[in-house]
Amino acid sequence: METIYWEEEMETLPRAGLESIQLKRLQKLVERVYNTVEPYKRKMDEAGVKPEDIQSLKDIQKLPFTYKDDLRDNYPFGLFTVPMDDVVRVHASSGTTGKPTVVGYTKKDIELWASVMARALSCAGATKGDMIHNAYGYGLFTGGLGAHYGAECLGATVIPASGGNSKRQITIMKDFKSTVLMATPSYALNLAETMEGMGIDPKSLSLKVGIFGAEPWSENMREEVERKLNIRAVDVYGLSEVIGPGVAMECLKSSGGMHVFEDHFYPEIIDPETGEVLPPGEKGELVFTTLTKEAFPIIRYRTKDISRLFYETCSCGRTLVRMEKVTGRTDDMLIIRGVNVFPSQVEHVLMGVEGVEPHYQIVVDREGNMDTMEVRVEVSEGIFSDEIRVLENLTKKIQNDIKDILGVTSKVKLVEPKSIQRSEGKAQRVIDNRKI
């Protein structure tokens, strides 16, 4: 299978060339932001850093982070760098915990967004010959319009289905012969179930690939949606604070992870506690700097998403760094006896033990001055045995694997199926009983 590029030169640039482009863009960005946005200037002054201090890419580490709270504090347009006359569109994220966060785009920003989204679609093998069914919500949310402009930029035919009315969507998919589905993974599963209810065989549709994102989803979910819709399912990453969908995209040959369009969005992985940049391949918080956006650039934005970066060239030929599927949020991070532990790491260990299903719960407590971690694992038929010894060996194996991989001692406790509390179908993964 031949790789389909959108901007082949950029996507396959050797690292040295790419880095020199990134540095030039970063220097221009910092200079512009420092001179036009008061809150950025203030933070840089406090950190004692001037635009001319950015002499190498590594110097980005001198710059202060930007947090979601900075967006809220400057609500609605306080971090825009251009006059409102030049802003042609705004989007906003829902404000479940306070004010919404607002982002703006110039005409050029919209073009940039469409082109990175067209790159993303190409990563999934889409071309102008495709019929793209876009079931991301249209509105203040960036998903719908972001995907829409990308599909048009690619030259494909886009069906602006938006969310809701699944039966009608399925009829359209069937009649219009949609070949590419874009949706949240949970909505894709909803479509699959509706299809089943309508007695429609997914094989009778023309769908070949699904591009899913905007919410965390597991490898299990990928397998399920691929099977139920008879498609390849690939992961797209984006967030409105950076641009929207199209920040990173998995390719069809992916050796693991999504290609970050790093000529525009510069990624770093940091230790969420210390803020230190971590070496390539290590797990930590993803931080983004937009190198080319005009209206609303952002410097070292703390995404709170946990990922890793892989710099090896992908088998598709792209040199662009790959980010691992987001495996958690820093909000979920536990510090146990000084060790950072993410529930997703525990899940990963469990998935590696044959027969174990990822139904687990982590209970953290404190005995004296010592943190304790208990991992409760539901006993499925796949691991059950009528012999005590076999089950005891299993708990020991999981304990050892957790110790080896996470570096923390735990006690593994086998529990009955469905005994882990679930709220609205979602299991409560962590119970922290420490009184700190």
């Binding site: 006993v379 059950f384 009528d386 005590i388 010894r389 005891e392 086998l414 009955e416 005994s419």
Partner: protein, 143 residues
């Protein structure tokens, strides 16, 4: 000659055994023999019942993890030396026992020993050669 045994995973919480046995009773499933093996955190309930498939189905539908394994049921006279004779034979034949438990039939004349061996085929050959009677599921349930 193998007998199907049902094994159920139980957390060590009071009332679990009563819960399982009453589910079986409500579904008219008779328990012929029962044993509990436990650790500090969990236990394994092993049961010989008259309808293994049904027992598995109802317990699963109540959310329990259930497994079916083969065991051997050896009949011995319920008198001094009955158990010793079987254990001696097992030792002589070099059979490894994973676990065992026993029950007495209704007439009280014979005891039935339930064994799970590491090597079940070898155990069947050896015990039959030594002249012991291995009971079938059907016979056990009619006892």
């Amino acid at each position: 000659m193998r007998v199907e045994q049902i094994a159920v995973f139980m957390e060590n919480k009071s009332g679990k055994l009563a819960e399982i046995t009453s589910i079986l009773a409500e579904n008219n499933i008779n328990i012929r023999a029962l044993s509990v093996a436990d650790t500090a955190d969990f236990g394994i309930l092993r049961l010989i019942v008259d309808d293994v498939e049904k027992a598995k189905k109802v317990l699963k539908s109540e959310g329990f993890t259930v497994g079916i394994t083969n065991v051997l049921a050896v009949e011995v006279p319920d008198k001094t030396g009955g158990l010793a004779s079987v254990l001696k034979a097992i030792n002589n034949e070099g059979l490894n026992v994973e676990y065992m438990y026993a029950f007495v039939n209704k007439t009280g004349e014979n005891a039935v020993l339930i064994f799970r061996f590491e090597d079940m085929d070898k155990a069947i050959d050896s015990l039959q050669k030594e002249g012991f009677t291995l009971l079938s599921s059907k016979v056990i349930c009619s006892l």
